[in-house]
Amino acid sequence: MSQPVLVIAEVRAGKIRQVTLEALQGARLAAGDSAEISAVIIGSGITGLAGELASYTSGKVYAVDHPELVSYNAPAYLHAVKGIVEELQPSRVFLGHTAEGRDLAPGIAALIGAGQISDVISIESGELYKRPIYAGKAFEEKRFLSSSGVVTVRPNNIPPATLAETAGEVVDRSYTAPVDLRSIVRDVVRKAGGKVDLAEAKIVISGGRGVKSADGFKPLDELADVLGAAVGASRGACDAGYCDYALQIGQTGKVVTPEVYIACGISGAIQHLAGMSQSRVIIAINKDAEAPIFKVADYGIVGDLFEVVPLLTEEFRKVLA
C-alpha cells in the first residue's frame, strides 16, 4: 500500500485508550511492516499525549488541540479529521469500536466513499477481517471491495502496539469550529466513581435475575472492587429494573470478551451467552444445577450467590493482599 494508513486515537480521562494501541497494531497487521502508519489525536490540552502516541508509531501524529474538542461531539470531531483525511487519502482508517469510534467511523467512511468493517477481533493473512455476527453466535471473515476502507477494532482482542524504533513526528493542526454546528454537547455526566469500563475490563462480574433486587448487586460490586473488575448484568436483571441497561451483556446490550467472566445468578439464556461466551475463563454461580450457563462455564459452583460471592471476596482479599 503506497497510501498511508491512519489511526484515529481516542482519549479518555486524560489518557490514550488501550484500544488505540490495539488499533495501531491492527493497522500494522493489515498494512504490513513497511507501511507508514500515521495517527490523529483530538482533544484539549493533548500535547503530552500526542508525544506519547508518537512513541508507538514512526509515522506522523496529527494533533488537533482545541478547547472546544474537550469531549466528543460528532460533527466537531468529524470536522477535525476531515481535512487530514482529505489530504492524506488514506487507504485504511482504523478506530476503536467504542462509543466514540462507532459514531465517528461511519462518518469517515461516508466522507471518503469507503467500505467499513466494524467490530473486528482479528486480522488474518490476505487482509481478511474476522468479526462476530449475531453477537458472537457465529463469526465471519470480510474483505474490502472498495479501494479505501474503515475498520473499527473491538477492545481487548488485538494485542497492543509496542514502542516504535524511532518515534514519529508530531504535527500540530489547527481547528476552526464549523460555522454551522448543529449539534452541541450541553453536559456530560461521567459514570459513578471512575468504575472500570465493561468493554475493556479484564474481569467482568455479572448479575442476573438471581440477584433479586438493585441491592442484590452490592456483593458483586464489592467483589469487583477487590478484583478491579467491571460489573455487568443479564437482560433479566435489567428488565426487572435491578440495574441500568448500560450494564446489559448479550445480543441486545454489550458483547464482552474479558479474561475472566463471573456469572452470578444468571441462567444463561441464549441471547446472554452470545454476549459473553468468548470470554477466556467463565465461572458460573447459580442455585439451579440445570441452568444452561453451566454448559459454557469452565468452573461451576452450584450454590447461593449471596453466600458464595462474599466468601469469594474475602478469599481474593486474602490472596491479593
Binding site: A74, Q116, K137, A138, L145, R186, D197, Y299, I301, L312
Partner: protein, 253 residues
C-alpha cells in the same frame, strides 16, 4: 412532523445459528423487528402523538421484511415502504446509498433508527445516512425531547450520559431504555392490513445499482467450549477452591 423510521428485520435473539452450505440457515427461524429498531418505532409513535404528524417505516431488505413492516404498522405507524431489489449489495454502505436516495426525495423532520442490528451488528447504516444527507445525528439515545425545531437528547456513551442539543431535521439511533415498545392490539393488527404499503425497486428510485463495498469471504461457528468442572463442598470450600484454581490452573487472576 414527518418522521421516518429505518427498520431491519432480524432473527429473534433466542434463535440458535446453524450454518449450512457456507451461509446461515433460515430454516424455521422466527423473525422479529430488530429490537433496537423497535424502540425507534415506539419513539416515533410517541413523538407523533405529542406533536402531530406522520410516521413512515422504511426497510431495505428481502420480501420477507414486509412482515416486520406490517408489525410496525400494527404498532401504529401510518405507512410503510419496502425497498427490495436483488441489485442492492449486501452491506451497510449499499443500504445507506439506497436510503439516501429514497429520503432525499422526501420531506422529513426526524429520522429514527436502532443503535445497531442484532444480526450483522455493524452499526453503520443510520450514521452513514445522516452524514450523506448532511443532517446532524446522535447515536445511542436514551431520551428525546422536541420543542419547535430543537431536540434535546441524552446519549449513552459507555455508561457516561451526554446531553446534546440539535436542530431538526436530525437523525437519532435508539438505545435500550429509550422507551417500552408497545404490543400491537388485535384491532390495530387488522387496521394495519389496510394501511398504505409501498414496495420499491432501484428503478423506482432512479438508481442503477447500489454496490456493496465489503464482502463476506467465510463464516464459521465459534469453537465449542470444553466441559467445565463443578466445584463441590461447603460454600467456604467452594470459594477457596475456585480462587486456587483461577490462580494455579487457569492462571487468570
Amino acid at each position: 412532523m414527518n418522521i421516518f423510521v429505518l427498520l431491519k428485520q432480524t432473527f429473534d435473539t433466542e434463535e440458535k445459528i446453524v450454518i449450512q452450505n457456507g451461509s446461515v440457515s433460515d430454516d424455521g427461524v422466527k423473525y422479529v423487528i430488530n429490537p433496537y429498531d423497535e424502540y425507534a418505532v415506539e419513539e416515533a409513535l410517541q413523538q407523533r402523538d405529542k406533536h402531530g404528524g406522520n410516521v413512515t417505516v422504511v426497510s431495505v431488505g428481502p420480501g420477507r421484511a414486509a412482515e416486520a413492516l406490517r408489525q410496525a404498522l400494527a404498532m401504529g405507524a401510518d405507512d410503510a415502504v419496502l425497498i427490495s431489489d436483488v441489485r442492492i449489495g449486501s452491506d451497510e454502505g449499499a443500504a445507506a446509498v439506497v436510503l439516501e436516495k429514497y429520503l432525499s426525495g422526501q420531506s422529513f423532520d426526524l429520522l429514527l433508527g436502532g443503535n445497531f442490528s442484532v444480526d450483522s451488528g455493524g452499526g453503520q447504516v443510520a450514521i452513514r445516512l445522516a452524514n450523506k444527507l448532511g443532517i446532524p445525528h446522535t447515536a445511542s439515545i436514551t431520551s428525546l425531547e422536541i420543542s419547535g425545531s430543537q431536540a434535546v437528547v441524552k446519549r449513552d456513551a459507555e455508561g457516561d450520559t451526554e446531553t446534546l442539543e440539535l436542530s431538526l431535521p436530525a437523525l437519532f439511533t435508539a438505545q435500550q431504555g429509550l422507551n417500552e415498545p408497545r404490543y400491537p392490539s388485535l384491532p390495530n393488527i387488522m387496521k394495519a392490513k389496510k394501511k398504505p404499503f409501498q414496495t420499491l425497486t432501484l428503478d423506482d428510485l432512479g438508481l442503477g445499482e447500489a454496490a456493496a463495498l465489503t464482502e463476506r469471504v467465510s463464516i464459521a461457528l465459534p469453537p465449542e467450549r470444553g466441559t467445565g468442572q463443578l466445584i463441590k463442598g461447603t460454600p467456604a470450600e467452594q470459594a477457596a477452591k475456585l480462587v486456587e484454581l483461577l490462580r494455579t490452573e487457569a492462571k487468570a487472576i
